[in-house]
């Protein structure tokens, strides 16, 4: 696979702080690459540098092997879908999509063909003459994506385009966007603060924090094998414990909970356990599984995301445990004692 986008040691300094610190990564052609980070982590700045709206302080942006130094945004082979979409309110759907092609002074017939094909693809056929201000949120979204994609960019940059949608529609658009990307094969660079968006859609996710990339990995690896404590805490739900002491094959948290672990990192300060990694009522002979008892404080019912808030018996640590909504666990009530197991590989120490 060849890399369509390479970012070489990129930094961006503002007057009093550094937004992007020595970021270095590459994106494969046809990939869906997400940059995940909370607001203010520098991800928007990074995207705007790739698009050419801001100048890098150091480093270089290379697209298809060509340095983008000094090339203005209108000449770069990238297009951007803005956070607020930035549709032109005085134009109808068709004119919005046609805008970029008109700027290229394309022949009328070619233009019509491209516009119709794109409107077909995003399912906006029949909406050509509608004003963009009369459309629903999801339709506006599609207009914005169609307007950028019709330019046939090497890379499509998306700046949290689903942020303004309601939850149901966002879930739907996530899947739609992923399928669209697969179908047309354009490279997407997607920035978001919503980890679910990043995990569902992306081939690769970069977790950004304070201007630095903490980890670049597949969504599955990011979740299963976080490399830093920030990633472990940021991606997915997790229980976090401060460690008091570590022995050769066990560790004890501040709250006095001792866990067995054969190969321990002796300098570790923190322990992360995912709620869904915990096994409720494990069989006794499971290999490499540490078992302990908890008392249920409350049941936090949230449909498929329901959790038990528990206390680990013999310590003062609270532990959140995922509770699958199936017949096996229907009898679980507040105040019950519960046997719980955790596999050694699911204890993440940093």
């Amino acid at each position: 696979m060849n890399n369509i986008l390479e970012i070489k040691n990129l930094s961006k300094h503002f007057d009093d702080f550094t937004a992007v610190k020595n970021v270095d990564f590459s994106v494969e052609e046809g990939g869906f690459f997400s940059i995940l980070g909370s607001s203010g982590c520098g991800k928007t700045t990074l995207l705007r540098i790739i698009a050419g709206f801001q100048q890098e302080s150091e480093g270089d942006v290379i697209i298809r092997g060509q340095s983008m130094k000094g090339i203005p945004p209108e000449k770069r082979p990238v297009n951007i879908v803005f956070q607020n979409l930035a549709l032109f309110p005085m134009m109808n759907v068709r004119d919005n999509v046609a805008f970029g092609l008109k700027m290229q002074k394309l022949k009328k017939a070619d233009m019509n063909f491209k516009i119709n094909e794109m409107l077909d693809r995003v399912g906006l056929n029949g909406y050509e003459k509608k004003k963009v201000t009369d459309l629903s949120g999801g339709q506006r979204q599609r207009v914005a994506i169609a307007r950028s994609l019709v330019m046939n960019p090497s890379i499509l940059l998306l700046d949290e385009p689903l942020g303004a949608l309601d939850r149901k529609l966002r879930e739907h658009m996530k899947i739609e966007l992923k399928l669209l990307q697969k179908e047309i094969g354009t490279t997407f660079v997607y920035i978001t603060h919503d980890q679910s968006e990043a995990l569902v859609m992306s081939d690769k996710v970069a977790v950004m924090h304070n201007g630095l990339f903490e980890q670049i990995d597949t969504p599955r690896n990011l979740y299963k094998n976080p490399k830093t404590s920030f990633v472990a805490g940021f991606v997915g739900d997790t229980n976090r414990f401060e460690l008091q002491s570590t022995e050769a094959s066990s560790m004890t948290t501040q709250g006095g909970w001792t866990l067995q672990q054969p190969d321990i990192n002796r300098s570790a300060q923190e322990l992360y356990i995912r709620p869904e990694a915990l096994i409720i009522n494990p069989e006794n002979n499971l290999k490499d599984v540490d078992q302990f008892e908890v008392t249920i404080k409350t049941i936090l019912f949230d449909g498929s995301n329901t959790k038990l808030s528990t206390m680990v018996n013999g310590s003062s640590e609270e532990l959140l445990i995922s509770l699958p909504q199936n017949a096996q666990f229907d009898g679980i009530e507040e105040g019950h004692k519960l046997n719980v197991g955790i596999h050694h590989n699911d204890l993440k120490c940093f």
């Binding site: 698009a51 803005f82 930035a86 032109f88 805008f99 700027m103």
Partner: protein, 288 residues
């Protein structure tokens, strides 16, 4: 329930009555009176009789016609000039400079309004006169030997009209530009638009409602203005309001003055209607 409804009715009428009084006594009745009196002429024995004479007078006397057409043409011209000058100012104040600077500059722009039109017109007379500031300076620096005749020309009149009306273009244009998201400009840029394309295809169409409402205000102010044409334009200014003024206060032919007043009202309404049609704007959109 009944009681509640009655209460609502009383408040409703209390609120609507001042508006109705204003509309009827200040606008409808005077205009009706004006319209009636425009169709009356004095017959041989001094009685007022119904006639189209005042209007026929307008269409047969070439000087009235000329004044009428000139007033319309110059008003349109001043409106266009006001747009050309105001748009960069509005753009600079909303999109380029800082908020603090913009507030200060806006205050400067408002100063002419504080002192009133008469004072600003006299101010321009001081500047533009044969022995005025500009001529004096040009002669002193040796650029010219004889003073240039600027006052009492169409030039000085247009300057005066522009100066007093320009601000009414700046403000509505500023308010539409303020509501424009900068990302629209970036999006256009991203889609390959040049600076000129962004200006003509994004910024101008976006601010069209503001431009139109500004243009209507400026046009109305200019076409109905009396001071600037009279004091800065001098004897040759041939502004239609001067004809009306003459009818009312010099020749005391109030009926002809009323007829001319109505013609001016028709002219300005007609041009605005035409302009709205041509620019594809709707009055309700422009007003908001």
């Amino acid at each position: 329930m009944m009681n509640n409804k009655n209460n609502f009715n009383i408040t409703f009428y209390l609120l609507i009555v001042p508006v109705l009084i204003w509309l009827i006594f200040m606008i409808v009745i005077p205009h009706a009176e004006l319209l009636i009196s425009s169709f009356l002429v004095e017959d041989d024995i001094g009685d007022m009789v119904f006639s189209f004479g005042n209007y026929i007078e307008f269409f047969t006397q070439k000087i009235y016609w000329l004044t009428f057409v000139k007033t319309a043409a110059y008003s349109i011209g001043v409106t266009v000039l006001a747009f050309i000058i105001s748009f960069p100012i509005a753009f600079y104040l909303t999109k380029v400079t800082t908020k603090k600077n913009a507030a200060f500059l806006m205050l400067l722009l408002l100063i002419p309004l504080w002192v009133g039109e008469l004072v600003t017109v006299y101010g321009w007379m001081v500047l533009l006169g044969d022995h005025g500031v500009i001529n004096h300076f040009l002669i002193w620096t040796g650029i010219i030997n004889e003073p240039i005749n600027m006052l009492y020309t169409n030039f000085s009149m247009v300057v005066g009209l522009l100066y007093m009306s320009m601000l009414f273009m700046v403000i509505p244009v500023m308010s539409t530009l303020q509501s424009m998201d900068d990302s629209l400009i970036e999006a256009a840029c991203d889609l390959g638009a040049s600076k000129w394309d962004i200006f003509t295809k994004i910024i101008i169409p976006y601010s069209m409602p503001g431009i139109t409402s500004g243009a209507i205000i400026v046009f109305m102010l200019v076409i109905g203005d009396y001071l600037a044409p009279n004091l800065l334009g001098g004897k040759n200014s041939l502004w239609f309001t001067e004809q009306i003024y003459n009818d009312f206060l010099q020749t005391f032919n109030w009926n002809e003055g009323a007829a001319f007043g109505f013609l001016l009202l028709m002219l300005s309404s007609g041009i605005i209607w035409l302009a709205l049609k041509l620019s594809g704007q709707k009055l309700d959109k422009v007003g908001s």
